[in-house]
């Protein structure tokens, strides 16, 4: 299948969206969905190229996959810009938009980290995650005007900051998982895996530290803006919902992780394990709980 065929597949899968959008005459949203379809296609090609590069051990394909991922991130960013400048900007409070935003932030941050560390081979993991995020968003067009409770700057700020924080803490968890795998391999004295050589422990530890620091800051700002949003909408900063309670617990856990990491200077292995456990809990608190309740 050629590169040109991929967006067609994505279009076919999401065609009902196009029809729905067209019926509503929301031209701006339709263009956004098309851009998201292209974004998903480019991410998919980036992931396939990275996989092929690893299988054939071709540096050129590895570099091409990074370039494609960057192109995908550019298109992805453009889709948000298009939404922002639409006649009646929709809220990003639904899960699909938040996932798409998280995927974008994660990709952009990964590309930034790539400048300083040898992490090229992680494209094979980052690109599929980015594809999923953009693909989910491309499945359904934004639903037009926001409900009254979600209008104004605070809901937007809350969703954007919390999603960005979640995304970066997810990156920290991913780096932590890979660190633990590589740590276990080195401890067991197994030979280096040439088929899929992982980044060095030091590089993974740095990714873990940076993403934890920035992600925690964004998450904190997300929690604060969420409380302000609630205060504006209901007159109280705390409603006692399960989402709020569990998110607060997750935030407290992250406070402990940040202190352990930057205050007590825990070891890299412990930091990696903490990042994985912390993100698993956060994911449950923010996303998993939504489905359970």
């Amino acid at each position: 299948m050629g590169v040109r065929g991929l967006p067609v597949c994505v279009t076919a899968l999401t065609s009902h969206v196009d029809r729905a959008s067209a019926q509503r005459g929301q031209r701006g949203f339709r263009v956004t969905v098309q851009v998201l379809q292209w974004t998903a296609a480019v991410y998919l090609v980036a992931g396939l190229t990275a996989g092929l590069g690893l299988a054939l051990e071709t540096r050129r394909l590895e570099r091409a996959s990074v370039a494609l991922l960057a192109l995908g991130a550019l298109l992805h960013g453009a889709s948000f810009a298009l939404l922002h400048f639409a006649d009646n900007p929709p809220p990003l409070t639904d899960l699909r938009s938040a996932c798409s935003f998280m995927a974008w932030i994660g990709t952009v941050f990964y590309l930034i980290l790539l400048k300083r560390s040898r992490l090229q081979r992680l494209v094979v993991l980052v690109a599929p995650a980015a594809f999923l995020g953009s693909f989910l968003a491309a499945l359904r067009a934004p639903q037009g005007a926001a409900p009254e409770a979600a209008t104004g700057s605070w809901p937007h700020a809350h969703v954007l900051l919390a999603s960005a924080g979640l995304s970066l803490l997810g990156l920290a968890g991913l780096a932590g998982s890979i660190f633990l795998i590589e740590h276990a391999r080195l401890k067991s004295k197994a030979p280096l895996d040439r088929a899929f050589p992982l980044p060095s422990l030091e590089a993974l530890d740095r990714v873990n530290a940076v993403t934890l620091a920035v992600g925690f800051l964004l998450l904190t700002m997300g929690v604060i803006t969420g409380m302000i949003w609630l205060q504006t909408a209901t007159g109280r900063p705390w409603s006692g919902s399960a989402h709020e309670s569990w998110t607060l617990v997750a935030w407290v856990i992250y406070v402990a992780l940040v202190i352990a990491r930057f205050g007590v200077k825990q070891g890299s292995r412990q930091a990696a394990a903490s990042a994985v456990a912390g993100f698993a809990f956060l994911l449950f608190a923010v996303v998993g709980l939504e489905y359970i309740t």
Binding site: L192, P199, S200, L201, E202, R206, K265, G267, Q270
Partner: protein, 425 residues
């Protein structure tokens, strides 16, 4: 084409040493001044001495090369009863081509896949070109060898897996540390093995080194070689707290790097990763330190087992590389064989051009044509001849690459009566 040589498999080092050549230029000049040798390249490294020649008389070249090895290459006179055949090998034509490709691709090296051989091959080629001993045929062969080596390097993983303990240690260190060159290393003991590992680490970019030993004088002497600092064993705890890589290679019945010492040092370094390379026999680092997080200990057996697994994998990659070499050898053989068609094609063209010129001369004498008209007719006839010859010439070139293609050349010579011209030449 003929190659006569000796390498690490065919001759002992004391003999290879006698044949080693620093400046091949004058020797190559002597070779190409011989009647039987048209082109020559001399290849001399610590593991091999080989001479490749292009000749029109294989037997003549063989005698000349044997005399060359015995009388001109040997620095010290060889005993009268010395049998050159026992320590040398000889390859001809396709086998010689294949051998050159294998050497350049590091398939014939002591450590298969080692990277230095390609540079040494290029140096040998350059020296032969500079003294005028390497002509178009061997030049083409060496260019082909370089591209084959590049293909082997990119299409196989033959050079990726280190097979020496020191290289394995460097590879592992790079898997732990992102900026390996910025790290600090400590060598405990000043023995030969430790020095070898330290030298490899230094080659890989590591700059900051300290050496601790029971006898500070020996540590100081080694430290001077590496631009390192020398210390006594009483400073170990402080030193381990500061460095990232520890190499232990010191005598003694009991481990010098104990669980207690390592735990204290790790706490001091705030649990930053520490890589311990223990090449001491008996072991200098207590295996119990494996329980410490962020400490990675590899002893000689661990490193050796990784190196052995790498060697097995290299052998598998070498098989893939050998297939590439065969493919490239056949390609070169095809080109070389096609050269046989060159005289026939040249004479065919000369014959056609002779006929055209003579007929044109006669026509111009009969016709009264102006300069521009003569030029037009000249161009027209030249174009007709070229177009008629294009198909048979292309076919001859193509067929000449195959052994059976010789029949085409013979038929062309008979059909166009070219043998007379070839005989005249």
């Amino acid at each position: 084409m003929m190659l006569l040589g000796m390498n690490h498999q065919s001759a002992p080092i004391h003999l290879r040493e006698r044949m080693a050549v620093d400046d091949p230029g004058p020797l190559l000049q002597k070779l190409v001044d011989s009647d039987d040798i048209e082109e020559a390249v001399l290849f001399s490294t610590c593991n091999r001495v080989e001479v490749l020649v292009l000749t029109h008389s294989l037997e003549g070249a063989r005698q000349r090369l044997r005399a060359f090895f015995r009388l001109e290459l040997a620095r010290v006179e060889l005993p009268g009863d010395f049998d050159l055949d026992e320590v040398t090998y000889e390859y001809r034509d396709s086998d010689a081509v294949s051998h050159v490709l294998r050497v350049a691709s590091a398939l014939d090296s002591m450590v298969v896949g080692e990277p230095q051989i390609l540079g040494q091959t290029k140096d040998a080629y350059r020296a032969a070109v500079e003294c005028g001993a390497c002509g178009p045929i061997l030049g083409r062969l060496f260019q082909h060898a370089f591209s084959t080596a590049k293909r082997v390097k990119t299409e196989t993983r033959i050079g990726e897996r280190p097979v020496s303990v020191a290289r394995v240690a460097v590879d592992l260190a790079k898997q732990i540390f992102e900026r390996f060159a910025e790290k600090r290393a400590l060598l405990i003991g000043a023995g030969e093995m430790g020095e070898v590992v330290l030298r490899t680490l230094r080659k890989s970019g590591l700059e900051s080194i300290c050496i601790a030993n029971r006898t500070p004088e020996r540590a100081a002497a080694l430290a001077a070689q590496f631009g390192a600092t020398a210390h006594g064993l009483d400073e170990l705890e402080t030193l381990i707290g500061d460095v990232d890589v520890v190499i232990t290679s010191i005598g003694g019945d009991r481990p010098i790097l104990t669980l207690d010492l390592a735990s204290r040092a790790l706490r001091k370094r705030r649990h930053r990763p520490l890589f311990v390379i223990d090449i001491g026999v008996p072991r200098n680092a207590d295996p119990a330190i494996d329980a410490i997080d962020n400490l990675y200990r590899y002893d000689l057996d661990d490193l050796g087992s990784v190196a052995n697994r790498n060697a097995d994998q290299r052998a598998r990659e070498a098989e893939r590389a050998a297939a590439i070499v065969i493919e490239e050898q056949q390609r070169f053989d095809g080109w070389f064989a096609a050269l046989r068609a060159v005289p026939t094609i040249r004479h065919l063209r000369d014959r056609a051009e002779g006929i055209r010129s003579r007929e044109l001369e006669k026509a111009f004498a009969r016709l009264e044509l102006g300069d521009s008209e003569q030029a037009a007719v000249d161009a027209l006839t030249r174009s007709i001849v070229n177009k008629i010859l294009h198909a048979p010439v292309s076919r001859l070139k193509q067929e000449a690459e195959r052994e059976e293609g010789m029949a085409y050349l013979e038929i062309a010579r008979v059909l166009f009566e070219l043998d007379d011209e070839l005989d005249r030449e």
